[in-house]
């Protein structure tokens, strides 16, 4: 795979480092970071700034028995390690384990050639959510816009949107000003990991009909 060419802003990477991103958004950013050494280096720098800030923080007194009570717990068995992550399909970029688990367990057919697997937010009536969206070759996602923003990372394949082609690992941030109808290239299925602040805002009858079924 060639290196991604579309990257998150430094401000977003800083948000990830300081722990200020909503969970689904953080997953999308981490999917990009897993294949982008340059952005990982930026994250390393931002975390080092966090470390320096921590080191420079004015110490706050701990409870008098704090050390004793932690020392008493050192022998406790550690929490069980997380379950081994399922193996990603061979043609996917490396995605966080939570995402793979969702992809394995919860794929739902949304339309011919289109599937959705919810990762966070479970596709409720409102609020932030993240999901994998698989769309077959040559198919266009019905025209829509967004309430709030949206992060996208291409996991497999490619799609075309307003004159650009997005390929595996590319990261895109769309805001409310974007009204679009992304179309998958003819080469094969495209899978994207998407985090949105809210349900899409359909701009076509087709999209309006599908929405209650798929919860995106």
């Amino acid at each position: 795979m060639t290196a991604p060419t579309r990257h998150p802003s430094e401000a977003l990477i800083l948000d990830l480092a300081r722990g200020a991103l909503e969970r689904g958004r953080a997953l999308v950013l981490r999917a990009h970071l897993a294949v982008c050494p340059g952005c990982r280096a930026t994250l390393g720098l931002a975390e080092a700034v966090g470390g320096a800030m921590l080191d420079a923080a004015e110490p706050a007194p701990m409870a008098p028995d704090a050390l004793a009570s932690v020392l008493a717990r050192l022998g406790e068995p550690p929490p069980p390690p997380p379950a081994a992550a399922p193996h990603p399909p061979g043609d996917w970029i490396r995605v966080p384990a939570d995402v793979l688990a969702a992809a394995e367990g919860g794929r739902r057919q949304a339309a011919p050639g289109v599937w959705v697997a919810h990762v966070t937010g479970e596709g409720g009536r409102s609020g932030p959510r993240s999901y994998l969206l698989g769309v077959g070759p040559g198919i266009a996602v019905p025209l829509h816009t967004h309430r709030g923003g949206e992060f996208v990372c291409v996991v497999k394949g490619a799609y075309k949107d307003r004159g650009h082609i997005y390929r595996p690992g590319d990261f895109v941030e769309n805001d409310e000003s974007v009204e679009h109808q992304p179309r998958v290239t003819r080469d094969g299925e495209c899978v994207c990991l998407i985090a949105a602040d809210n349900l899409l805002v359909p701009r076509s009858i087709q999209a309006r009909l599908l929405q209650p079924i798929v919860g995106i």
Binding site: R18, G19, P37, L45, V49, M53, L54, A57, L74, P78
Partner: protein, 204 residues
């Protein structure tokens, strides 16, 4: 570099070293302590606890955590240091950076639990399960440089960096708090990151 000062006291008018050159930097000392903790050295753990637990607590309080939660998470952070010490790689990150990421992840997990009202996630989740950074910018030697570079930032850049890390608010709220346009806050952050990166240039 020698730290020296004129001694007005008992010595016969001379320059006296008041502090010997430290045998190792803080970052090296903490890395060494974590290495000993990995070998189940409780004395080394107590040293680390003494330095980092009050700082983690302070960081969490600044982020708005209630005092009881800040205390609990500071203790949990150091407990995680004990458990994960064998996985600490001083070539990859300074001790303070590593501990910062542990505290941050525990804070995120606690907030998530509070929202969902459910059981503990494994605190060792995603962030540290990621592949090691290829560009090891944050090595222990660079820690002092980052700290120095932070103090050398123009005050308006240092302010937005500080406010970012001592809050989990979106930048739009930080901008509001400062009475600045969002674009100005973002460009100051970008400039600050650029300067910090430059200061580490020959280590990258």
């Amino acid at each position: 570099m020698h730290a020296i000062a004129f001694d007005h006291g008992g010595h016969q008018g001379g320059w006296t070293p008041i502090r010997p050159v430290p045998p190792m930097s803080d970052a090296q000392r903490f890395a060494e302590l974590i290495g000993r903790v990995a070998g189940a050295d409780r004395t080394a753990f107590a040293d680390l606890f003494g330095h980092f637990a009050p700082r983690v607590k302070s960081y969490l309080l600044r982020l708005g955590a209630a005092p009881a939660l800040a205390e609990e998470l500071a203790q949990e952070t150091l407990l995680a240091v004990w458990r994960k010490a064998a996985g600490f790689d001083p070539a990859k990150a300074a001790a303070s950076t590593w501990i910062f990421t542990i505290a941050r992840n525990l804070r995120i997990d606690a907030a998530r639990r509070e929202r969902r009202g459910d059981v503990a996630d494994d605190p060792s989740d995603a962030p540290e399960a990621e592949p090691a950074p290829d560009a090891r910018l944050a090595a222990a030697q660079s820690e002092g440089r980052i700290r120095h570079a932070l103090t050398a930032l123009p005050p308006e850049q240092a302010e937005v960096v500080r406010l970012s890390f001592f809050s989990d608010k979106p930048h739009s709220e930080i901008a509001e708090q400062l009475g600045l346009p969002l674009g100005t806050v973002k460009s100051r952050l970008r400039l600050a990151m650029g300067r910090l990166r430059e200061s580490l240039g020959d280590l990258a």
